[in-house]
Each structure stands twice: as structure tokens, then as C-alpha cells.
């Protein structure tokens, strides 16, 4: 078993994490924020479930649930996954991913939505 240090001894942060955590105080703040997010996620889960029992019409319920889910996902991404302090290169990759996902979703739906149908095709005059 490796030796363990007890947490009341002065700690040093390994150099490689310095970029992400700057210093000890900042790191502890980050951890406290994560715990706060944990509580928020639990609360928002209960809110999501509760809201689903209120009748806002089908689209209304879906929209509200997706808004809450997106907010929860944002918290996970920003704090748990530490995107809030992440490097530019990572954002470049993610922004293209989001764009292409949106393209896949909305262009596919668009193709299903906009189709040739008898109403929009002039009748052919076949001699």
C-alpha cells in the first residue's frame, strides 16, 4: 500500500494540474462548486419529475423538460467536466461537433417534413 498523507498537512498541487487549478484555494473552490452542482442536480431531477405531472400540453411539457435537462447538462459539462476552464483546442472540437449534430438532426427532420406530395406537384399532362 502506498503511503497516504492526511489532509491536514500542507498540500502541494502537482505541476500539471496547475493549469486547471491554479492554486490550492482555487482547487478547493472548484470542489465546493462540484458539490453544489451535485445538490442542484438532485433538486432539478425532482423538479423535472414534478413538472411532468403538470399538464402544459405535449409540446409544453417536452420543451420545459428539455430546458431543465439542458441546464443540468450544462452544469455537468461546465463544472464536473471542467469545461469552464478548458483550453481553446477542446472548444474548437466541440463547437464543430455541436454544429454537425444539429445538422444531422434538423436536416433529417427537414427532409422528412418537406416532401413531394400531390398538393405541391402540378399535374402532369401526359399526351
Amino acid at each position: 500500500m502506498s503511503e497516504t498523507t492526511t489532509s491536514n498537512q500542507p498540500q502541494t498541487i502537482p505541476a500539471h494540474t496547475a493549469h486547471a487549478t491554479h492554486d490550492l484555494a482555487h482547487f478547493h473552490r472548484h470542489i465546493r462548486a462540484a458539490i453544489g452542482v451535485f445538490v442542484a442536480l438532485l433538486v432539478l431531477t425532482v423538479v423535472t419529475v414534478g413538472a411532468s405531472y403538470i399538464d402544459l400540453g405535449r409540446s409544453g411539457n417536452i420543451t420545459l423538460a428539455l430546458i431543465i435537462a439542458t441546464f443540468k447538462a450544462g452544469l455537468v459539462a461546465a463544472i464536473f467536466m471542467h469545461l469552464i476552464a478548458e483550453k481553446r483546442m477542446v472548444f474548437r472540437v466541440l463547437i464543430f461537433t455541436v454544429v454537425f449534430f444539429a445538422g444531422l438532426m434538423f436536416l433529417t427532420l427537414g427532409a422528412f417534413d418537406d416532401t413531394v406530395s400531390p398538393e405541391n406537384v402540378p399535374s402532369a399532362n401526359v399526351p
Binding site: 502506498s2 489532509s7 498540500q11 498541487i13 500539471h16 431531477t45 447538462a73 455537468v76 477542446v90 427532420l109
Partner: protein, 277 residues
């Protein structure tokens, strides 16, 4: 020559290799689940009647509990990594163990849910069916059984419940009674096979809702399993790296944590879409 930037970050990008690597991989996972989500939307929009999760007997309390389990595993994962940063190996062991435990709990609950679906049936009968000596509608009224619209035939009706026995010419079926009804479950009822147009458990073949439910949650569960296996590796077999290259182990745990949070993130969308909406 050694491969550069495996632990220390490169100056101009600010990243060490595995950090970039995992984000690239997660980008591909976004597209994977994104493809499935896009399919879900297309299928849902294209179907006239899309049932609510609870109409299809998905248990909201169980799903909510499972969501809480996964959220808890995310914070324990953060704390596991933080323990390594603060050089507290025994705390790392504790929190990583909790994370793996939560993962196993999630999978166990999911297995329970799947089993419940595979043993829960919908039997579609013709409207003129006679059960317990009574016409169908009368029987349903008397026994507080909900009749759902048929899928196979236009005026057929679906009774949900559990299958007690199956014989050549009939089945013995224990029907579900309506929610909020007090009193005992009715005993098994005999339904003649000649009146049955469809008898099917709530598996992926039952309807499009279940097809996408099992595919989405199944693929997600595989990711939970994969993440749990990697976390287990860091927890025990690979933890010897703490003695030789502690920063590298810390990085590995951080990178596995990113994957783990992503898995949690997918569930944050899956849960409301499938169970609540």
C-alpha cells in the same frame, strides 16, 4: 526519444495528450448518441400516437432513483480525482469504490427493470371476446381492468398483465387493474387463443417506443459497464501506478472521470425523454 506531453501539458495548446484524446472520443460519442436521439425524434414525430413512458409501465420512481444514483456516482468520481490531486490515496480508494458501487447499482436496477418488462405482457383480443363468462367490456368494467386500443386490428383491445400459464388453446392471464383501484388482484383469467390476435411481452419488438427505449438504454448501459470496468482497473489493478507515476495515474482518473460524466450527461436527457414525456 520519448513520446512528448504524456503528463506535462504542451505549452501552446495547454493540453496533455490524453486530455485531448478523451475529448475527441467524447465528440464521437456525442455523434453516436446524437444519431440515436435524432432517430428518436424522427420516429416520434412520424408516429401518430406516441405513448407516455408511464403508459408503457416504465416506473418513474425507479427511474428517478436511478438518476440520483448516477448523479451521486458523478460527484464521487470528482472527489476520487480530487483525492489524488491532494495526494490522499486512501480517500481515492474510498470514492472510486463508491463510484463503482453506484455504477453496479445502476446496472442492477436496470436489469430489474428489463426483467420486469420481459415478464409483463400485452394481449390483444377481438372485441367480441368472452372472458369469465362475460363479454369483454363488461368483464373489464367489473374487474377494474383498463382496456387499451389495439395495435394489430382496428377495433381490438389490449389487456396488460402477467402470464401464468400458456396452453395449446388458451392462456391463463393475470390482468393489471386500474391505478388507484383498491381490492385484490383478480385471479388468473382464461382467454381463448382463438380470440387472441397478439400476445407479446414488452420487449423491443412490442412497439416503436420500446424499440427505441431498449436500444437507447441498452447502449447507455453498455457505456456504464465499460466505464465501470475502466474505473475498476484504476481502483485496483492499475493503482500500483500511484507508487511509480502518481501524476500519470491522476491524469488517467481525470480522463476516465470525463467519460463518466458524459455517461451521466446522456442519462440526464434519456430519463425525461423516455420516462416522463
Amino acid at each position: 526519444m520519448e513520446i512528448p506531453y504524456t503528463v506535462a501539458p504542451r505549452e501552446d495548446t495547454g493540453l496533455w495528450n490524453a486530455k485531448l484524446g478523451i475529448w475527441l472520443f467524447l465528440a464521437s460519442e456525442v455523434m453516436l448518441f446524437g444519431g440515436l436521439f435524432a432517430s428518436y425524434v424522427v420516429l416520434r414525430v412520424g408516429n401518430e400516437h406516441w405513448p407516455l413512458g408511464r403508459e408503457m409501465f416504465l416506473s418513474v420512481p425507479i427511474g428517478t432513483f436511478n438518476t440520483a444514483v448516477l448523479i451521486t456516482s458523478s460527484i464521487t468520481m470528482v472527489l476520487a480525482w480530487a483525492s489524488l490531486v491532494l495526494k490522499n490515496f486512501s480517500k481515492f480508494r474510498l470514492y472510486m469504490g463508491l463510484t463503482i458501487l453506484c455504477a453496479l447499482a445502476f446496472l442492477g436496477i436496470k436489469a430489474f427493470e428489463y426483467h420486469a418488462k420481459f415478464t409483463h405482457y400485452g394481449v390483444e383480443v377481438e372485441p367480441q371476446t368472452v372472458i369469465g363468462g362475460m363479454p369483454l367490456a363488461e368483464w373489464a368494467e367489473k374487474n377494474h381492468v383498463k382496456l387499451m386500443p389495439g395495435i394489430r386490428t382496428r377495433d381490438g383491445k389490449i389487456i396488460t398483465g402477467h402470464l401464468e400459464t400458456k396452453a395449446d388453446d388458451h392462456v391463463m392471464f393475470v390482468p393489471d387493474i386500474k391505478e388507484g383501484t383498491h381490492g385484490e388482484h383478480p385471479a388468473a383469467q382464461r382467454i381463448e387463443k382463438s380470440h387472441i390476435t397478439r400476445l407479446s411481452a414488452f420487449g423491443p419488438w412490442y412497439n416503436t417506443f420500446f424499440a427505441i427505449y431498449f436500444t437507447l438504454t441498452g447502449l447507455h448501459a453498455l457505456h456504464v459497464l465499460g466505464g465501470a470496468i475502466v474505473n475498476f482497473y484504476h481502483w485496483i489493478p492499475g493503482s500500483g501506478m500511484w507508487k511509480t507515476q502518481p501524476e500519470r495515474l491522476t491524469n488517467r482518473v481525470e480522463v476516465s472521470g470525463l467519460f463518466w460524466h458524459f455517461v451521466d450527461l446522456v442519462w440526464i436527457f434519456l430519463f425525461p425523454l423516455l420516462y416522463l414525456l
